[in-house]
């Protein structure tokens, strides 16, 4: 119990420093913290501390300490200015022009600079000295902050019980923030909320100022102005910008982005149909890419500058340079049209349809993974601990798989995480080529109208998925690398 109290007190002080967590803390524990704040104001010895400090400063002025310190500081500053006027630093500068040999103190501007510098340094020195003296004379007197005050209060059993009862949400919050990983995740999630609102704002604004007119594109050019006005009123497109934006925010946050302008179906229902298909394509291509690229990269790194290495890296470079849609067309030409092995159109429930999209999307990804695997393996393989492992007589396979690959995985995981977003977007092209009814091809069709609720929801939810994947990747780091784990723990 005592341990928990101490712990939470420390956590309280720590997270009170950052404004973001402080806001959460104050909001969640308002019932408890408000009375605590009143007590704090009453009991604060702050004023005493400040007046004592001022008294000591006056004492310095009276007994001549201030004058002595000022002399010392002035001598120091003048020496410094003199040095930099004619010192070696200026001669080293090629374009500084002729070196100024005149005494710098005659220069009015330099003199002013010196005065300023002296005053600043003097203030700092005196303040420091006063604080040291005060601590020596009366050690009990401290400058207690609110956080420290509450932290002290929490050490008392009764107050702590009150805190648990009245400030229960804040108590839970403190418990959560006491765990470094949960704290890190929480901070990232809060940041993500801001990013999601930012994305909503960005995409909505782009669609709002777009010269395209949805009513014109949907009703056709034969519709009368009255019909258009009616359409706009029905979907709220005639409202002012801020009201529409607010509605968009609300729709995204409540997972009810509204009805599609075209056809009037619920956007969420459509998304629920499309997302699994796209995610499946992405997952298959990711799995394919990792399965091919990581072994290829390791193989390349184990035999650097051999013929196989050159060949694999050349293939990887070509893989990076192939336009996805062109590659997809070639595959269709070969495997669907000529050989009739794979279907060229989407058939629900048939896993064969995912083969070609996975290959097309996996090509670019596996190329970058293979290159990254090779370079990071090459870096790791020459480190001392690998040599030690080999010298100890460990089998080569164990050295590579257990010792080298673990450390080499970090940049690889980064690349995969970063490319995931590109994959979600790259799926757009592959979906168009293979006519897969996924989120990407649906979005493109909606873009032309522009079907604001649909496009907004699609882009924002993709952005959320990408952000979550990036968060997972960052957490994976901590599992892979103890150094990063330690960094997160330190906060």
């Amino acid at each position: 119990m005592k341990h928990l109290q101490e712990n939470l007190g420390g956590v309280f002080q720590k997270i009170y420093e950052k404004w973001l967590t402080r806001v959460f803390l104050l909001a969640l524990g308002a019932v408890f913290l408000l009375p605590a704040f009143l007590y704090y104001l009453l009991n604060r010895k702050n004023s005493a501390y400040k007046s004592e400090l001022a008294a000591i400063r006056l004492g310095f002025k009276a007994d001549g300490t201030q004058k002595a310190v000022a002399e010392e500081v002035r001598a120091h500053v003048e020496k410094k200015f003199l040095f930099f006027r004619s010192g070696p630093a200026f001669q080293a500068e090629p374009d500084a022009g002729p070196v100024d040999v005149a005494p710098p103190l005659e220069n009015a501007k330099a003199g002013q600079g010196i005065e300023k510098e002296v005053a600043r340094l003097l203030e700092v020195r005196l303040d420091e000295m006063a604080k040291v003296k005060l601590r020596k004379e009366s050690p009990g007197l401290g400058d207690v902050t609110f956080a420290a005050y509450v932290s002290n209060l929490l050490q008392r059993g009764g107050v702590f019980a009150c805190f648990v009862v009245f400030g229960f949400p804040a108590f839970l919050f403190l418990l959560l923030m006491g765990q470094p990983f949960l704290k890190y995740t929480f901070e990232r999630l809060v940041m993500m909320v801001f990013v999601v609102f930012g994305v909503t704002f960005l995409v909505f604004t782009i669609l709002y100022i777009s010269p395209m007119d949805a009513s014109y594109n949907i009703l056709g050019d034969l519709a009368t102005d009255a019909q258009r006005a009616q359409f706009n009123a029905a979907y709220g497109l005639d409202k002012p910008y801020l009201e529409q934006l607010w509605r968009a925010f609300k729709g995204i946050a409540t997972l009810h982005p509204g009805k599609s302008l075209m056809g009037g179906q619920e956007v969420m229902a459509q998304l629920a149909n499309k997302f699994p298909i796209t995610l499946r394509v992405t997952f298959f291509s990711l799995a394919l890419a990792v399965a091919i690229a990581v072994p290829a990269g390791i193989f390349s790194a184990l035999r650097p500058y051999s013929v196989w290495d050159y060949l694999i890296m050349l293939l990887a470079l070509i893989g990076l340079s192939i336009p996805a849609f062109w590659f997809g067309m070639l595959l269709i030409l070969e495997f669907s049209i000529t050989l009739h092995w794979l279907p060229s159109i989407f058939l629900p429930g048939n896993l064969k349809v995912y083969v070609m999209p996975a290959i097309v999307m996996g090509t670019g990804l596996s190329a970058s993974i293979a290159r990254m695997t090779r370079s990071s393996m090459l870096e790791v393989i020459h480190q001392d601990y690998i040599v030690t492992a080999k010298a100890k007589g460990l089998p080569a396979g164990t050295v590579i798989l257990r010792h080298a690959l673990g450390n080499a995985m970090i940049p690889i995981v980064t690349i995969i995480g970063l490319d995931f977003g590109a994959m979600m977007a790259g799926a757009t092209v592959a979906e168009k080529v293979f006519s897969i009814p996924g989120i990407g091809s649906w979005l493109i069709d909606k873009q032309f109208i522009p079907d604001t609720p649909a496009v907004l929801a699609g882009v924002v939810y993709i952005a959320i998925i990408v952000s979550v994947v990036n968060l997972v990747v960052d957490l994976l780091y901590a599992l892979l690398d103890p150094r990063i784990k330690a960094k997160i723990k330190l906060g």
């Binding site: 930099f84 630093a89 940041m191 801001f194 990013v195 999601v196 930012g198 994305v199 704002f201 960005l202 995409v203 782009i206 669609l207 100022i209 777009s210 010269p211 395209m212 184990l302 035999r303 470079l317 070509i318 990076l320 340079s321 192939i322 336009p323 996805a324 849609f325 062109w326 067309m329 070639l330 030409l333 049209i337 080999k390 010298a391 100890k392 007589g393 460990l394 089998p395 080569a396 590579i400 977003g421 590109a422 979600m424 977007a425 790259g426 757009t428 092209v429 168009k432 080529v433 979005l443 493109i444 873009q447 032309f448 522009p450 496009v455 882009v459 993709i462 952005a463 990408v466 952000s467």
Partner: protein
Amino acid sequence: MDGGNVSVEKDMEQSMAGAGGGASPGMGGAADGPVVRNDGRAGFLKKQRDRRRRRFSELGALSISAGASLILALVIVMAGYDGKAHAFAIHGAAAAVAGLYLLAGLLSVALFFAARSQIDASDAIGRGVRLTGLALLPFAVCGNVFAAIAAFTLAVPDRTIEYRLAGFALLNNLTVMLIAAMNLFKEWVVWTYPTCMLLLAGTLGVYAAVIFVMVWVGKREKALTGMSDAATGHRAGGLPSPNAQAVSSGDTGGQVEGGVDGRTKAAFSYKKLIPLAILLILMAVVGNIFSLLLGLVIISKAANEGSRKIIGWLDALTRIYRNYMSVLGLFIIGILFTLALCSTFLFDYELATVNDYAHLLNPPSIAYPFGTDNLGRDVFTRVVFGTRVSFIVGLIVTAVPLVCGGLLGAMAGYYENRLDNVIMRILDVFFAVPSTLLAIAIVAAFGASLPNLIVALSIANIPVYARTMRAQVLVVTGSEFVEAAKACGRKPLAILLRHVIPNSLAPMIVRTSVSIGIAVLSTSALSYLGLGVDSRIPEWGNVLRVGSNYLETNPYLAIYPGIFIIVLVLAFNFLGDGLRDALDPKLK
């Protein structure tokens, strides 16, 4: 002096360790390791021989020439294979070209083995083999640039950077002329065609002369540096090839007479070459980047004559020239860039845009190398004009984010805390949306046109550049020389502009090359989706979009333009790899 020497020494150490390890039984466990180790003296001698061979880039050039020529010969033959009839139907001209490629390949193979045995025997390539190598040069006329590069590499023992640039400048214009020569088989050519071709032919003569001048200059410089070597034990700021260094520091006496010669001749000055440099820069107006580089090299050498300062970009250029693939990338970019600039004068824009109902969906022929599309437009001409759009989009879409993202990233990384937070949170929003999706959203909202496409791709690329720059600036700001500048009292802005940004540029430059390639890919992908350039404008994505509609009946409509995209993007990726190695401080 350079990375070559260091790596040679490192190899030596490794091979010694390998030989020692193999000899002592106690280290048996280590022999299972990734490095293949041979036993004892035989293994050491083999390593030594391999190392000696590796010093001669002639061997690499010859083997690539041999491989590429043979593969291309095979490709030309296979192109005549008719899948449906299961029979070969090769055009007479194609057969002749394939034969020439085969000949070049066989000659390269023969020269390769001859040169290798001479290197093994005497650590030098004899005059006979070098002169025979010149026989590979004429194959450039049938488009075999690999053979020509091998010939240039083999012809001169000590290849200075100027010599190589002059050689590539010549090959660049020659290849463009060859591509333009395909127009001779058409019914008509554009009226500027004869003038432009004659001018290009004239430049070929000038470049040929420049090559001889540069060989002479190289000999002169070598003689001079040999002299200064003898005098001071140092090498002046010149740029000898690794080969030259190997020979001069090695044990053979093959090049001694050059040094003796140099001692009797007067000092040579690059200042005399400045008129030539200006001429070269003027000739670069057709898009010949090698000519431009050569002119700049001469001028900067003239400006820095006498000082021993190493010129940063010259050093990087020399480093790039050590990597065959990155030079090849630069060469391909050079050819396509020249083609893009000259296309208006050499090719008929009407053939690419005006419908011709007499030639609908023609298969590839000598008049229409890539066939004609559904409106009778010449696909070859359309692809050539497509390079213009690709370069315009690629360059702008890289330059804008480079400057904007670079500045934002530099400010975010340098002025920590508040500004960093504001900039990075805003960029996080852009970063959360995949760049292709953002580009699609912008283009779809404002209509498909070239300016909109450029704006969309530029905005979508800014966050990546900003992040790269910020990360690099953070590293550089923490380094000691910045601390020293602060301690010396430099103003923060001056430190940022004079010290931090110049030292953070290397990863940005590498990214630039790769991102031009990505921009080319994105442009064509967006055009393919109908979100790029106006469909009438000849652009690679548009050409492919038409081709994709006739995939079943006329697949060649889609295949050839796709190969062009791959080649250009691949070239930028090769160059990017070369730049990365050249600018890597660890390898310097």
